[in-house]
C-alpha cells in the first residue's frame, strides 16, 4: 500500500534519515521501533508531506507522493495521529472532531462521530469541553478519534503510548488492534515501546539513529539477541515484565468495551 | 578572534574615516557625521534587541533626551561645555533607560513593544511641554564644540569627533559582546530559564542591557544635536524608532558590523537617491517604494540581514570569510 524507497532526509546540515526503504502491505499493522531521537517522527512527518525528502521516492497505492502537499496526502487517505497529541487545545472536543473531517466533501459526520464514541465513550461526555482540559489519556483518544473522522485508509500513529498510564495504553492498543482486524485499517505504528507494539503488529522495522537496523516479524525480532539487548531491555526485570504482560493481555475486543481515561495530565511533558 | 587580523581591520577602518572628509565635498562630511550618529544609535539598539532580545520601539525617546541634555548644557554655558555635555548626555540617558527595564522584567516581546512605544511618545510630549516652558518652540539652538574661547569649524570638527566616538564605542561594544556580559545577553534572549539555572540574574542583565543601550543612544542624540546645531523634540518620533529598528534588522540582528552597515545604508540611501532623482514628487514615490521594497526583499532573501548573508555566502570563499569574521 505504502512504499518508501531509499529516502534521505536532513535538517539543515544534520542528516536525520538515511536510505530508508520499507513497505506497508494493505490490512497490516506495521510497527516502527526505535529509541527517542532515532528518526521515527521525522519519517512519519515525511510520509505526511510535512517534511520533504532530499532523495528517494514514496508511493501510496502506486502514486508518488513525496512531493505532494499535506492536504493532498490526507485526502488520498493517509492520516496521522502526531506525537504529543497536538490537539487544538482551545477548541472543544466536538470542534476537534469536526476538524478531522475538514476535507470530507459530505457533511454528514455524525456517523463517524458515533463510531468514535463507540470506541471512546468518554469523549461523548466531554463534547463541549476544551480539548486542553482533558486528561492525557482522553487527549490521546481524541487525537485518534479526530484522525478516524477523516476516514483514513492508512493510519500513522506516532508514539500513542507516550506519557500514559499502562492501563490506558493497553486499552488504546486494543482499539488499534480492533480497528485493524474488524475494519481492515492499515496502520503504521511508531513506538519506543517494543514489547507492546510487537504484540499487535504483523511486521516491524527497527530504526536506529536514522537508519533501518533490522526488520522482521514480531517473532523473529523477539528472538533476535541484539534487539533483546537494545530495545526490549531484557536486562531489567521491571520493564520486561510490564510490557510482556500488557502485550499478552491485548486481544481483539469481544464487544467494544468502554475506554475511560483515569490517568492524569502529565505535568512532566509541558 | 585573530588579533593581527582584527588589528588590520581596525586600521583599514580608521584610515578610511580619516581620509574621507578631505576627498568628499563638505555636504557629504555633514551627512556622514549624521550617519555616524545613527550608527551609534543602531549599535545601542542592537545590543539591546539583537543580543539581549529586548525589543524597543521607543529609542527615539533616548535620542531626544540625549540631544536635549547636551543641547541645554551647551546652549546655556557655551560650546566649551561640549566635552562634559557629551558624556553627561550618555550617562543621564543611560539612567532613564532603567525606567524601561522595570516593565521589561515582567513583559514579553509584544507587550514590551507597546511599553517602549509609549515611552517614546511620552518623552516627545514631555519635551514639547518643556519647550513651551523655556520658550524654545523652534528648538534649542546648540553651539558647536569649542575649546575655551576658540570655536571650531563645526562640520569638520563634528565629523572627527563623531568618528572618534563611533570607533571608541564600537570597540567597547566588541569587548562587551565577547565577554561574560555579552554571553549573558544571548543567554537570556534564547532561554531565560536555562540562563537562570546558570546563575545569570535576569534583573541585573536586563538592567545592564537597557543602561548600555540607552547610553549609546543618548550619546548619538547629543552628537546629532551638535552636528545639526539644533535640539528639537519632534525630530525624534516613532518613525525614528522604527527606522533604527529597520537598520539593525536590515544589517543583521546581534551583529556589530551589521548595525554599522544597516545604519549607513539607510541613512545615506535618501541622499544618494537625491543625486539620481531630481523631481520632488517622483522622489517621494520612488524613495518609499525603494526603501519599503528593500526591506521586504532583504527579509525574503537575507532572513538574517545583510551581514548574515555576507558571512553565509563567504563560506564559499574561505579567505574572505576569515577577513569578515576574524575567525
Amino acid at each position: 500500500m505504502l512504499r518508501l524507497e531509499d529516502v534521505d532526509i536532513s535538517y539543515g546540515p544534520i542528516p536525520a534519515l538515511k536510505e530508508i526503504s520499507l513497505a506497508i502491505p494493505q490490512g497490516q499493522v506495521v510497527a516502527l521501533l526505535g529509541p527517542n531521537g532515532a528518526g521515527k517522527t521525522t519519517l512519519l512527518r515525511t510520509i505526511s508531506g510535512i517534511l520533504r525528502p532530499q532523495k528517494g521516492t514514496i508511493s501510496f497505492e502506486g502514486r508518488r507522493i513525496e512531493r505532494a502537499r499535506t492536504d493532498k496526502i490526507v485526502s488520498a487517505g493517509i492520516v496521522q495521529v502526531p506525537e504529543g497529541r497536538q490537539l487544538f487545545a482551545d477548541l472543544s472536543v466536538l470542534e476537534n472532531l469536526r476538524m478531522g473531517g475538514f476535507l470530507r466533501k459530505d457533511c454528514d459526520l455524525q456517523k463517524d462521530f458515533d463510531q468514535v464514541f463507540s470506541y471512546f465513550p468518554v469523549l461523548r461526555d466531554r463534547l463541549s469541553q476544551a480539548a486542553g482540559t482533558l486528561s492525557g489519556g482522553e487527549m490521546q483518544m481524541l487525537a485518534i478519534g479526530r484522525a478516524l473522522v477523516a476516514r483514513p485508509r492508512l493510519l500513522l500513529l506516532d508514539e500513542p503510548s507516550l506519557g500514559l498510564a499502562p492501563v490506558i495504553v493497553q486499552k488504546l492498543f486494543t482499539v488499534i488492534k480492533d480497528l485493524n482486524q474488524r475494519q481492515g485499517l492499515t496502520v503504521l505504528l511508531a513506538e519506543q515501546n517494543a514489547h507492546l507494539s510487537l504484540g499487535i503488529s504483523h511486521y516491524a522495522y527497527v530504526l536506529e539513529t536514522g537508519k533501518l537496523a533490522l526488520s522482521g516479524t514480531p517473532g523473529e525480532l523477539r528472538r533476535n539477541e541484539a534487539v533483546q539487548q537494545l530495545y526490549l531491555g531484557t536486562k531489567t526485570v521491571v520493564s520486561h515484565n510490564k510490557d510482556r504482560q500488557i502485550a499478552a493481555s491485548i486481544r481483539p475486543l469481544a464487544n467494544v468495551e468502554e475506554v475511560r481515561g483515569e490517568d492524569r495530565s502529565d505535568e512532566d511533558t509541558h | 578572534m585573530n588579533l593581527a587580523r582584527e588589528r588590520t581591520r581596525w586600521l583599514i577602518g580608521i584610515s578610511i574615516l580619516g581620509v574621507l572628509p578631505f576627498v568628499l565635498p563638505g555636504y557629504w562630511t555633514y551627512q556622514l557625521s549624521l550617519a555616524g550618529a545613527s550608527v551609534l544609535a543602531a549599535l545601542g539598539l542592537n545590543l539591546l534587541t539583537g543580543y539581549a532580545g529586548q525589543i524597543s520601539l521607543g529609542h527615539a525617546g533616548f535620542l531626544a533626551i540625549g540631544s536635549y541634555v547636551a543641547g541645554l548644557l551647551t546652549s546655556s554655558f557655551g560650546g566649551s561645555w561640549f566635552w562634559i555635555a557629551l558624556p553627561l548626555a550618555g550617562v543621564i540617558t543611560g539612567l532613564t533607560g532603567l525606567v524601561l527595564f522595570i516593565p521589561a522584567l515582567r513583559l514579553g516581546t509584544i507587550y514590551l513593544a507597546i511599553a517602549t512605544l509609549g515611552f517614546g511618545a511620552a518623552v516627545t510630549q514631555v519635551l514639547l511641554k518643556l519647550s513651551e516652558v523655556t520658550h524654545t518652540y523652534e528648538g534649542i539652538k546648540v553651539p558647536g564644540p569649542a575649546i575655551g574661547e576658540i570655536s571650531l569649524n563645526r562640520d569638520l570638527t563634528m565629523y572627527f569627533i563623531t568618528a572618534g566616538v563611533v570607533l571608541a564605542l564600537l570597540w567597547i561594544a566588541r569587548n562587551v559582546v565577547h565577554a561574560k556580559l555579552g554571553r549573558a545577553f544571548i543567554a537570556i534572549r534564547d532561554k531565560e530559564i536555562a540562563a537562570e539555572a546558570m546563575g545569570i540574574s535576569l534583573p541585573q542583565t536586563k538592567a545592564y542591557a537597557f543602561l548600555i543601550s540607552a547610553f549609546y543612544t543618548g550619546i548619538a542624540g547629543a552628537l546629532h544635536a551638535h552636528i545639526v546645531g539644533i535640539a528639537q523634540a519632534e525630530v525624534f518620533n516613532l518613525g525614528t524608532s522604527i527606522q533604527l529598528f529597520s537598520m539593525i534588522v536590515l544589517g543583521g540582528l546581534a551583529s556589530l558590523p551589521g548595525s554599522i552597515l544597516g545604519a549607513l545604508f539607510l541613512s545615506l540611501l535618501p541622499e544618494l537617491l537625491k543625486l539620481l532623482v531630481a523631481s520632488q514628487q517622483y522622489y517621494n514615490v520612488i524613495y518609499g517604494v525603494l526603501y519599503g521594497g528593500l526591506l521586504v526583499l532583504v527579509i525574503i532573501f537575507m532572513p538574517y540581514g545583510i551581514w548574515g548573508y555576507l558571512v553565509r555566502t563567504s563560506f564559499k570563499f574561505p579567505k574572505a570569510r576569515k577577513f569578515l569574521t576574524g575567525a
Partner: protein, 257 residues
C-alpha cells in the same frame, strides 16, 4: 547534602507532588524514577527554584533553599540540566561552557568594556579550563561549533560538561540519556561514574532507561502520582511489588496475581 522534607506542589486541584521527603547524601548517586506524569520533573523544578512549593522545605548543604532565587541556587553548588537540553543553540560550544562558570567571572562592567587586563586574564583562564574539560571528553575539536549543528547525544554530553564547569557539589540530571543510542548512553554512564568516583559529587538523576538507572545508582526513589512509593537499592526496587504495580497499572497487576 540534600534534604527534602514534606514537599508538596499543587497545580489547581492536581497534586503533582504530594508530601515527598527524601535525602541525598554526600557522594551518592540517587535515581528518581516513576511513570510519566509522576511528578519527577516537578520535584526538579522545585529544588532548582523554578517553581514555588505549596508546602515543605528543602535544605541543601546546610542552606534553606527557599531563601534563594533560581539564579542563586547555582552559587550554592547545586546545578541542573534540562530534559530538552538547556544549551544555548546559537552559541559556540566554548561559550556555552563559559556560561557554566558565569558566577566565577568577577570583572566589573568597566574592566569588561575597556578590555582591561583583569577581564582579559579571567577570560583566558576560564577558556583554558573549558578547553581542558572539552579535551578530557574528547570534544576539543568542537569548541567553536555552534551547538545547534551538533547531534543530540553530543549536546547532552556538552550540557553535562557545562554543569561541571560550575564546579558543583551536586548535579541534578533530568533524563541524561533519553533518546540516545546505546553507545552514547554508555559514554554518559562512564562520564558520570568518572566524575563521581572521588565521592565529592552527589547526583540526583531522572531517567526512564531502567538498565541505565539500575546500573549507575546507589539508591533509587520511585515516584508515582506525586508520592514516593518505594526507596532502596536497585535490586530491591526491581523486586518491589508496589513499583511493579505503579508501572503496570492496576489491572495488569491483577493479571499478575
Amino acid at each position: 547534602m540534600l534534604k527534602v522534607n514534606q514537599l508538596s506542589k499543587h497545580f489547581g486541584g492536581l497534586k503533582a507532588v504530594n508530601d515527598v521527603s527524601f535525602e541525598v547524601r554526600a557522594g551518592e548517586i540517587v535515581g528518581l524514577i516513576g511513570p510519566n506524569g509522576a511528578g519527577k520533573t516537578t520535584v526538579f523544578n522545585l529544588i532548582s527554584r523554578f517553581l514555588a512549593p505549596t508546602s515543605g522545605q528543602i535544605e541543601f548543604d546546610g542552606h534553606h533553599l527557599f531563601k534563594y532565587r533560581a539564579s542563586q541556587v547555582v552559587h550554592l553548588g547545586l546545578v541542573r540540566t534540562f530534559q530538552n537540553i538547556g544549551l544555548f543553540p546559537y552559541m559556540s560550544v566554548l561559550d556555552n561552557l563559559l556560561l557554566g562558570q558565569h558566577r566565577d567571572f568577577h570583572a566589573g562592567i568597566f574592566s569588561i568594556a575597556l578590555n582591561l587586563p583583569k577581564a582579559r586574564r579571567e577570560e583566558a583562564l576560564r577558556t583554558d579550563e573549558a578547553l581542558k574539560l572539552l579535551g578530557s571528553l574528547g570534544l576539543a575539536t568542537l569548541q567553536s561549533s555552534l551547538v545547534s549543528s551538533l547531534p543530540y547525544g553530543t549536546q547532552k554530553l556538552i550540557e553535562i560538561a557545562r554543569a561541571l564547569m560550575a564546579k558543583p557539589k551536586m548535579l541534578l540530571l533530568d533524563e541524561p540519556v533519553a533518546g540516545m543510542t546505546s553507545f552514547e548512553k554508555e559514554r554518559i554512564r562512564k562520564l558520570i561514574q568518572k566524575i563521581s568516583a572521588d565521592g565529592q559529587l552527589s547526583i540526583l538523576l531522572i531517567d526512564h532507561d531502567m538498565s541505565f538507572v539500575m546500573e549507575l545508582c546507589d539508591r533509587v526513589i520511585v515516584l508515582s502520582f506525586g508520592q514516593i512509593i518505594a526507596e532502596g537499592a536497585p535490586e530491591e526496587i526491581q523486586k518491589n511489588p508496589a513499583v511493579i504495580e505503579a508501572y503496570l497499572g492496576e489491572e495488569a497487576a491483577v493479571v499478575e496475581t
